[in-house]
Each structure stands twice: as C-alpha cells, then as structure tokens.
Amino acid sequence: MSKYLLNKFLYTVDRDPELVERYREDGEAFVAWWEETQANRILNVIDGEASTWLAFTGPERAALAAHDHVALFQLGAHPFLTLTLFIAMFERDHPEPLSYQKGYGEALAHLSLPYPDIAT
C-alpha cells in the first residue's frame, strides 16, 4: 500500500499543464512512464539523490492507468488531489456547469462512512 505515492502522482501531475494533458491522453503509458522516471524523485532534490524504494501496488497502478477515481477513493488517495486533477482532465467533456462534479460524486454514492483512511 503506497498512498503516499498515489498522492505524489496526483500532486505532481496536477501542477503541470503538460503532464495533465499527457495523462488524459493515455493513462496506461503515462503511468508507466511516471513510475519509471518520476516516482522516486524527491521533490527539490537533484536526480542523483533520488529514493530507491517507491513503487505502486498492482491495484494502485491499475486505478491510475484507468482514470478510475472511484478506485482511487477506495485506495485512500487524498480526495482533494484526485478531484482537482480529474476536473482538469475531464470537466471539459461535460459542458453543463458542475455536471462533471455531480457525476463524479454519484459514482461514489454506494460508499458510506467511514470512508477509507487517507492518512499517509
């Protein structure tokens, strides 16, 4: 279980317009690239001093690759990060104001309290 790494993916992609588009276009290829080249970079540290141990679990990798926000919620990814990035990628496909956000919530309607723990 690597909630921290899920969040690191969402955080680093969300803040970079080019990465947002690449992730939208091809989730599977992008997640593979990110895990291979970015997952172990410590932010604000030179590449030669990267970490050596960070990797997604199978379900985490699959949820990211499939743009599956319901699975990400169930895996304990930080809901704010997921929501913000997914709005950036997919709101444009739903022209009615807030319709994407409402559908996003409806897809989670089968879940009840307590929600999955998001502590990292």
Binding site: Y11, R15, P17, F80, L83, G105, Y115, T120
Partner: protein
C-alpha cells in the same frame, strides 16, 4: 502596543471571484445576493482602518507537501506571490503580489516558539486561495502588508482542535504584545461542512446543514466550550470529508475570545457549501 482592531473569520469560496465578476448569461442567479453580503462584510474591515493583516489559512498541497509537512507555519518574507496554475485553471483566480511584514512575522515566530508552539517558518512562500479569497472579498485593493499563517487541516495526522484554539489565543496575545502603534486585523478562513472528492460533494446545500447551523451559533456566540465539547478529529469526518477546515474557524474563535459574541454575523446557503462571515471588534465597533 499594537491593537487588534478587528478579528474576522470567514469561509473561503474560490468560486466567488468568478461569480461576482461574471456578466450576462454567465452570471449565476445567486451572484447579486452574494456580492451584497460580501460588500457589507468588507465594510466591517474597512471601518476598522487596519494597517497590517495577519492572515490564517491553509495551503492546499501547493507549496507544502507530504515529504516535509508542517502543522503550523508562519511566513516571514518581504513579499508573497500568490495563487497557482491549478487555481487559475479551475477557479479563474487572478495572481497577486502582496507585501509582507517581516517585523510582525518575527515577533509572532519568536513569541510563538517561547509560548509552546514550535512554529515552522518560510522565507519564500507562494500563498494560495485560502488567503487570497479573503483578500478578494475583504481588501481587493491588496494594499496592506500581511503575515500569513498556515495550518494543517488537510494532511493527517492533524493537530487536535484545542491546539487550533490555543494557537488563536496565542496569536491574539502576541499581536497585543507587539511594541508598535500599528492597527492589526486578524483574518482567518476555513470551512463549515464540506465534502471534496466524495459522494456528498456539490449537492444543493452543504453536506450537513445541521452541523452548519450549529457551527454558526458556536462562532457567533464565541461558544468555545460548546464547540470543543462536541468537535473532535473523528467527529469532523461526519459532516463531510473536508470539514476539518472548520478548525481554522475554531482558531479564530480563540483569537476572538471565549464567550465573545461577534459584532457582524452573516451566512449564505449556497450549493456545495454554506458561506459564513463573522467580525468581532475587540475595542468596540468603530464609528
């Protein structure tokens, strides 16, 4: 000594800027009422004639990240650039450049450390909408120096609610012990019940109107006892998964003082979340 001329607590709604500036078909039906309430709220700060603003908010995973996460952080910089690409993208927020007040930052840091708060600090801080939303609503001229104070309401493990209250009390004492003739307003923003990225988000009201009604009462009456008696880190999950932002309201109740009723109380029931606005005048209402 410096004077606390106003204590202000508010929700921070990133959609306000777009709603209030939209025209024609793009203008939402609730915009005019919202703007009227904000203009009355703004007047409560203007009347207090502040020289400097201490601004409490919370970074939304912009500059502060899980590899190095402070619980309470005070900015100490001559300038704060503000707002981020993803806030421009999602909310249409403009960028700002706000002047800092390093002397007051230093005073709060030193005094806080000596009062039992091991405050983190930042000498280069790009601030986000938790602080720029109240600039937009309360001081759109963005012409006063600020001291930003960030709290962690976002990335568990979080400090206990009572620590937010105690930090608020400490901030009040520290500002009032600052050897200066400046007039200081302390402004903090948080949330009432709020759900982000979960099944209860973006409903016709906030996710828990009962909590919101109770919370507005607690704040308006300065009822810290009642509030601390009910609110725990666990209980805040129930009204909505982002409701821990309410602890910044509790911090501001600590600044205002136990049992002190707010001089201005207003709220607005909106889709997704309830807006709420409070102003206290520690020295009596300005004329």
């Amino acid at each position: 000594m410096a004077k606390v001329v106003a204590v202000i607590a508010s929700t921070h709604h990133p959609f306000y800027y777009r709603a209030s500036t939209a025209v024609g078909e793009d203008r939402p039906p609730f915009a005019d009422e919202w703007v009227a309430k904000i203009e009355r709220f703004r007047e409560t700060l203007t009347k207090a004639r502040p020289d400097v603003l201490v601004m409490v908010g919370s970074d939304h995973f912009h500059q502060l990240w899980l590899d190095n996460m402070p619980q309470f952080l005070v900015g100490k910089a001559p300038v704060y650039d503000a707002n981020w690409y993803n806030e421009e993208r999602e909310f249409g927020l403009p960028r700002f450049r706000l002047e800092g007040h390093e002397e007051l930052s230093s005073h709060i840091l030193r005094g806080g450390l000596d009062s039992g708060f091991d405050l983190a600090f930042s000498n280069e801080l790009r601030i986000d909408h938790s602080i720029t939303c109240p600039i937009i609503t309360l001081r759109p001229e963005a012409d006063l120096p600020i001291v930003p104070i960030y709290t962690n309401i976002f990335a568990p493990p979080l400090p206990q609610p009572k620590r937010f209250v105690e930090l608020g009390r400490t901030i009040r004492e520290l500002v009032e012990s600052w050897p200066s003739d400046q007039r200081v307003a302390v402004i903090g923003t948080g949330h009432l019940s709020l759900e982000l990225g979960g099944p209860r988000q973006f409903g016709p009201h906030g996710p828990d109107p009962d909590f919101d009604r109770k919370a507005v009462e607690w704040i308006a009456n300065g009822d810290l006892e009642g509030c601390l008696g009910e609110v725990t880190l666990d209980s805040l999950h129930l009204p909505g998964n982002a409701t821990h932002g309410f602890m910044d309201f509790m911090l501001m109740m600590g600044v205002a003082g136990q049992g002190v009723r707010a001089d201005h109380v207003d709220s607005l029931d909106l889709f997704h979340t309830m807006e709420a606005y409070f102003t206290w005048y520690p020295d009596g209402a300005p004329t």
